[in-house]
C-alpha cells in the first residue's frame, strides 16, 4: 500500500468525502429500509410471541382469503386507467386549443382553468359528493372517475408543450390538405407523446394511491379501491396480522414500482413541472 503522507487540506477533503457518502447512504437506507423491512416481514409471518413461524408466501395467501384482492385491484385499475387515459386526452385537446387557437373567451377560460388549481379537492368534496349523489352515482366507481377526468394541471402542462412545438408543422400539414382535426391527431398529438406520458404517469401515480376520495365516495366494500381495502385489512388498530397487512401493502405497491422503474424520467419531470417558472 502506498499511502502518501497527505497534507492537511487533502485529508480534510477525504474526510468530507467519506462524510458525504455516509450521510447519503444513511438517507438512502432510511428511504428504502422500511419497504425492504415490509417485504421481509411479509415473507416471514410471526406468531404473537414474535417468533417466525414460517418463511414463504403464506401471508400473501392470507391476504387473498381475508379481502377480495382481485376485486379491489380491478376497481383500482379501472379507475386509475380510465382517469389516466381520460386526463391525457382531455388535457391534450384543451391544451392544444389554448396553445394554438385564438378565440374570444380564451383568456377568461384559461384563467378560470388555472384558478381551479388553487382550491384543493378536499374543500370542494362536499358539493361534489352532493352532485354525484344527485346524478345517482353515489357509491359507484364512476363517482371516482367522472370528477377526475378533467385536469387543470394537465391542461396547463400540455398547453406549454404544444406552445413549444413549431407552428410551421401545422401550416405545412394544412397546405398538404390536412384538415384541422387531422393536423391535431396526425401531426401534433404524436409529437406530444413525452408530455402525454407525464400527464398519464402523474395521473396513474396519484389515483392508484389516493385515499381521501375513495374513503368518501365508496360505501359498500365491493366498490373499495386497493388502499381502502388495505386499511380495512388492518382492522381495528392493529388487530390484523402484521405479515398479512404488509403482504397486502407489498401487493399494492407493484404497479407503482413498475412505473418507478420504467417511467422514472417522465415521473421526475412531471413532479417538478409545476415548479418551472
Amino acid at each position: 500500500m502506498s499511502i502518501q503522507t497527505a497534507g492537511k487540506p487533502s485529508r480534510a477533503l477525504e474526510l468530507g468525502r467519506i462524510g458525504k457518502y455516509a450521510i447519503l447512504l444513511v438517507a438512502a437506507f432510511l428511504t428504502i429500509g422500511p419497504v425492504v423491512w415490509t417485504l421481509v416481514t411479509a415473507l416471514t409471518p410471526t406468531d404473537s410471541a414474535t417468533h417466525i413461524t414460517s418463511v414463504g408466501f403464506g401471508a400473501f395467501e392470507d391476504v387473498f382469503k381475508k379481502i377480495p384482492v382481485w376485486l379491489y385491484t380491478w376497481n383500482s385499475a379501472l379507475v386509475t386507467l380510465i382517469v389516466a387515459v381520460g386526463q391525457m386526452l382531455s388535457a391534450a385537446m384543451a391544451g392544444y386549443v389554448f396553445a394554438r387557437y385564438e378565440f374570444r373567451a380564451k383568456k377568461v377560460l384559461f384563467a378560470l382553468v388555472l384558478a381551479t388549481m388553487m382550491v384543493p379537492m378536499q374543500v370542494t368534496i362536499v358539493p361534489v359528493f352532493m352532485l354525484i349523489r344527485g346524478m345517482g352515482l353515489a357509491d359507484t366507481l364512476l363517482a371516482l372517475i367522472l370528477p377526475a377526468l378533467p385536469t387543470a394541471f394537465g391542461t396547463f402542462l400540455m398547453r406549454q408543450y404544444f406552445m413549444g412545438l413549431p407552428a410551421e408543422l401545422g401550416e405545412a400539414a394544412e397546405i398538404d390538405g390536412a384538415g384541422p382535426w387531422r393536423t391535431f391527431f396526425g401531426v401534433y398529438l404524436p409529437l406530444a407523446t413525452p408530455g402525454l406520458a407525464i400527464v398519464g404517469i402523474l395521473a396513474f401515480n396519484y389515483h392508484w394511491n389516493e385515499f381521501f376520495r375513495p374513503l368518501i365516495m365508496t360505501i359498500s366494500d365491493q366498490n373499495f379501491t386497493l388502499p381502502l381495502g388495505l386499511v380495512t385489512l388492518q382492522g381495528n388498530l392493529g388487530t390484523g396480522s402484521v405479515s398479512t397487512v404488509l403482504a397486502g401493502v407489498i401487493l399494492s405497491m407493484i404497479p407503482a414500482l413498475l412505473v418507478f422503474v420504467f417511467g422514472q424520467k417522465p415521473l421526475r419531470e412531471g413532479l417538478t413541472a409545476g415548479a418551472g417558472k
Partner: protein, 314 residues
C-alpha cells in the same frame, strides 16, 4: 396574426380579403369547442360550481335532511368556539410550520450532496433512492410506519432499546403521535422538494463556481454567496408548494391515529371529513374548507410579493 395560429389557405384569403387581422375560421370553431368541452364542462361542473357552492354553503346550516337555513357567520364562529375544530386548526398550522422547515432543510442538504462531485451512476442511484417514497400511497406508508413505531414490538423502540431507552409510546402520547405524523409525512414528501432543489442547483452555471474558487471562496462561503442566492427562486416556489400541500394533510394521521390520542393529531381536513360525513354539518365543513382556501390564497399572494422583492433572478 398570432404566431400560434395555424393558417390555412382559405384563412389567408379571408384575411387578405377583409384587409386586416384574420377573422377566426368558422370551420375550426367546431374543433375549438369540441376540444375544450371535456375540460371546460368537467372543471366547471366538478370544480368551479363546487367552489361557489362551498362558499355559499359556509353561510348556511344544512344537514341534508332538513332544508338549508341561512346562518350568517355562525359556522365561522363555530369554528373558533368548538374546541376540537380550534385545536385541529392549531395542529395544522403547527404541523405546516414544522413540516416545511424540516422538509426544506432535509431536501436542500441532500440535494447539495447529491449534486456534488461523484460518479454519475452513484448520483442517479442516490437520486432514485431518495425520491422513491413519493411513489407509494400515503395509506400504505402509514400502515408500515404504524408497525415500525408500535410501542411493544416496533422496530424503532427495539432499536432505541439498544441504547437503554425505554419503550416510547409513539402513537399513544400526544407529542409522540405528533412527531410520528410529522416524520411519516416528511419521509414521504421531502423527495418532491429534493427534486426541485436538484433542478435549481443544476441550473447554477459551473463557471460561477470556478470564478469564485479562483477568488478563494470555498465550501460554506460559496454556498452562502452563490448557491443560496441563485436557487432562491426555487426555494420560494418549493416552500410555497410545501406549505400548500402540508395544509391538506389527512391520509397519514387518519391511518396512523384517527386524529388521536384525543385531538392531538386532528387536522383541518379531518374536521371537514368528520363534520360533513359523520355529523352531517355540511355548513361547518364548508366553512373550514373556505378558511383553508383563504390560507392557500394568502400564501400564494405572499409568494408573488416576495418574489418581486427579495428573490434574486440571475
Amino acid at each position: 396574426m398570432s404566431k400560434t395560429l395555424p393558417v390555412t389557405g382559405s384563412t389567408r384569403a379571408v384575411a387578405i380579403a377583409s384587409g386586416g387581422e384574420a377573422p377566426k375560421p368558422t370551420k375550426n370553431r367546431a374543433l375549438i369547442w369540441v376540444f375544450l368541452a371535456p375540460t371546460v364542462i368537467g372543471l366547471g361542473l366538478f370544480n368551479f360550481v363546487p367552489i361557489i357552492a362551498s362558499t355559499v354553503l359556509a353561510f348556511f346550516h344544512w344537514d341534508v335532511i332538513t332544508p338549508p337555513q341561512f346562518a350568517g357567520f355562525d359556522n365561522f364562529v363555530w369554528m373558533f368556539d368548538n374546541p376540537t375544530v380550534r385545536v385541529a386548526f392549531l395542529n395544522t398550522i403547527g404541523f405546516v410550520i414544522a413540516a416545511v422547515v424540516v422538509q426544506l432543510a432535509v431536501a436542500l442538504g441532500l440535494a447539495l450532496l447529491v449534486q456534488s462531485k461523484m460518479p454519475n451512476w452513484l448520483r442517479s442511484f442516490f437520486r432514485s433512492a431518495l425520491f422513491f417514497p413519493l411513489i407509494l400511497s400515503a395509506a400504505s406508508v402509514s400502515l408500515i410506519m404504524a408497525y415500525l413505531f408500535n410501542q411493544e414490538f416496533g422496530l424503532v423502540n427495539q432499536f432505541l432499546g439498544l441504547f437503554g431507552i425505554e419503550k416510547v409510546g409513539w402513537l399513544t402520547t400526544g407529542i409522540g403521535a405528533k412527531v410520528v405524523v410529522l416524520l411519516v409525512y416528511v419521509w414521504q414528501n421531502f423527495g418532491f422538494t429534493f427534486l426541485m432543489f436538484i433542478g435549481g442547483i443544476a441550473g447554477v452555471p459551473r463557471e460561477v463556481y470556478e470564478a469564485s474558487s479562483i477568488d478563494g471562496a470555498t465550501g460554506w462561503k460559496q454556498f452562502r454567496d452563490i448557491t443560496l442566492p441563485l436557487i432562491s427562486p426555487t426555494m420560494l416556489v418549493a416552500s410555497v408548494m410545501a406549505i400548500i400541500n402540508a395544509l391538506q394533510i389527512f391520509d397519514q394521521p387518519w391511518v396512523l391515529t384517527r386524529g388521536g390520542p384525543g385531538d392531538e393529531t386532528r387536522t383541518a381536513v379531518m374536521v371537514i371529513y368528520e363534520s360533513a360525513f359523520r355529523e352531517l354539518n355540511f355548513g361547518g365543513a364548508s366553512a373550514v374548507g373556505i378558511v383553508l382556501t383563504l390560507l392557500i390564497m394568502l400564501v400564494t399572494a405572499l409568494q408573488f410579493q416576495l418574489s418581486k422583492r427579495y428573490v434574486f433572478y440571475g
